[in-house]
């Protein structure tokens, strides 16, 4: 059976990448982030998700070896 950590890791890495890139593009756009108290929450969460996704993939790979 396929290791569940692979799809989880892949999905969060992809989503994390997309959201952090969007966060970077909108860095200077203070209008978007007025809702989130002026915090660029996209970069923040994007990086969190990317790290989480990569950690999952790392563990899935380590187990395989």
């Amino acid at each position: 059976m396929v290791d569940i950590r692979i799809p989880i890791g892949l999905m969060f890495s992809i989503l994390g990448l997309i959201i952090s890139v969007y966060g970077l593009i909108t860095m200077s756009d203070s209008e978007i982030y007025r809702k989130s108290l002026g915090i660029n929450i996209n970069i923040l969460m994007g990086v969190v998700m990317l790290v989480f996704g990569l950690v999952m993939l790392y563990f899935a790979r380590r187990k395989k070896k």
Binding site: I19, M45, F52
Partner: protein, 574 residues
Amino acid sequence: MKVDLGLLDYLIMIIYFVFVLGIGWVLRRHMKNANAFLEAGRSMPAWVAGLAFISTNLGALEVMGMTGSGMKYGMLTTHFYWIGAIPAMIFLALFMMPFYYGSKARSVPEFLKLRFDEKTRGLNAILFAVMTILASGISMYALALLMENVLGWDFNLSLWISALIVLCYTYLGGLSSAIYNEVLQFFIIVIGLLPLVFLALKDVGGWIGLKAQLAPIATAKGYAADAFTTTWKHAGAATSNPLGVEWFGILFGLGFVLSFGYWCTNFLIVQRAFAAESKSAARKVPLIGALPKMFIPFLIIVPGVIALALSNNPGSGFILPDSPGGGPDYNLTIIMLLKQYLPTGVLGLGITALLASFMSGMAGNVSAFNTVWTYDIYQSYIRPGTNNEEADGKHYLKVGRLATIFGILLSIASAYIASKFGNIMDFLQTIFSMINAPLFAVIFLGMFWKRTTGHAAFTGLLAGFLVALLHHGLTIPQGAETVFKGGWLGIAHTYPVEMAQNFWTAIIAFTTSTTLTVVITLLTRQKKSDEELRGLVYSLTPRTLKEDVPWYEKPVGLAIVVGVICVVLSILFW
């Protein structure tokens, strides 16, 4: 109340659905027989089954309901977690799982058949099958309604598309696919709601700021200043806390009868532990689930409590839309918070998290339904197994798959019924909650008292349910407007709040069921020999050999860790 989604938000949603369907597609080639399809081949590692165990419970109705309750009752809502779930999960893991898993039963009704008799199984299987289909219909209805009201999507289209996605991945990958997707859903809910908690808490000035803002609101309602931010402190009397229930009702009604009934006997939940790869893994499943469960209140209840502060602060601009019946629609609390704080990007993530929880709730119901239908109804009453195990495995796989399609079609039908008669669905949900308390009484007695007989169990189960129904028909919560809330036979007693009525319904059902089962057991003869009951009853099961693993990998060690954390949390928020 509309939430505007950007293209990016839709992209996030689509990526999630691609993974959901992809998991089903990859798992499809493992589905060679009924055992693989309906029981996940009993091959799930403890952590996967454990996260699925908690994720099944974390459906969208739970997320939306608990955030709404957080706004209504404050931190007292955590009673549904720390006292209303953790003790029952520990009990299930340590004391009940060895018999469930060791019995080789493939479902809770089948356990009843092994321990008691055919009629007890039949009663439970039929009630459960009907209940899960209706429950899944209610959930689908709520999903489609939400998409229509909040996202502006078409009701029918949302209903059919979400049903089609669930159908695809459960049809292809069965229980394994449902479990894998539940794990994926667990992470997307946690990560999707994390930015909300962070921003909302920052906005109100942290926990201390929140307490300060809630004090005048509590005093204005006639409670002590810290009534919304404490859990047990004001539980001495029903009138001194926003929940409207006193400590005895919380401890015995919620903490014992309702929670043990739900966590220890609801096949939807327990099925995840049945799918574990070994007995020791099965025992760890509820405990691994309990670890994140204890912290979920910070993710879904705390935002609700914050919403209470926001709604009393005109400067925040936060208002809850009115419900069709009048008064604020508390179920929309979480959506309105997402709208308030999240910009495009993380907003898509939050909405995806909600959609995910809806779908996995449906998938959970469907995968439990097709197991009970195939094994406990079809195989028991329509086409029993032959001696050819391989051919049987293939035949029941086909039946299980067909049951998946029919289950989903029936759910869609009941979703349309729900859209016509919303109140009836409320009523049905109340009735379903009456099934669990008697079931727990009967299974508990069966596991720990070898004399308990089949006749007694059957009567206890049926009488407990009927008495619960009668109690609901004779009592009413204060201010109830419809007969669906109770009092449809006459009014013998009025409860201050609906929750108190629910707690007492369960307490009375449990007591009746226990008493009757004990009395009838004493009056009837046990037809099962000790040999037949081996592995099903505590006193007739040999102790398993000690495992050679470190203490924290043993179920007991893990249970102690869970218990200690739960006590610490309760004291911190006392």
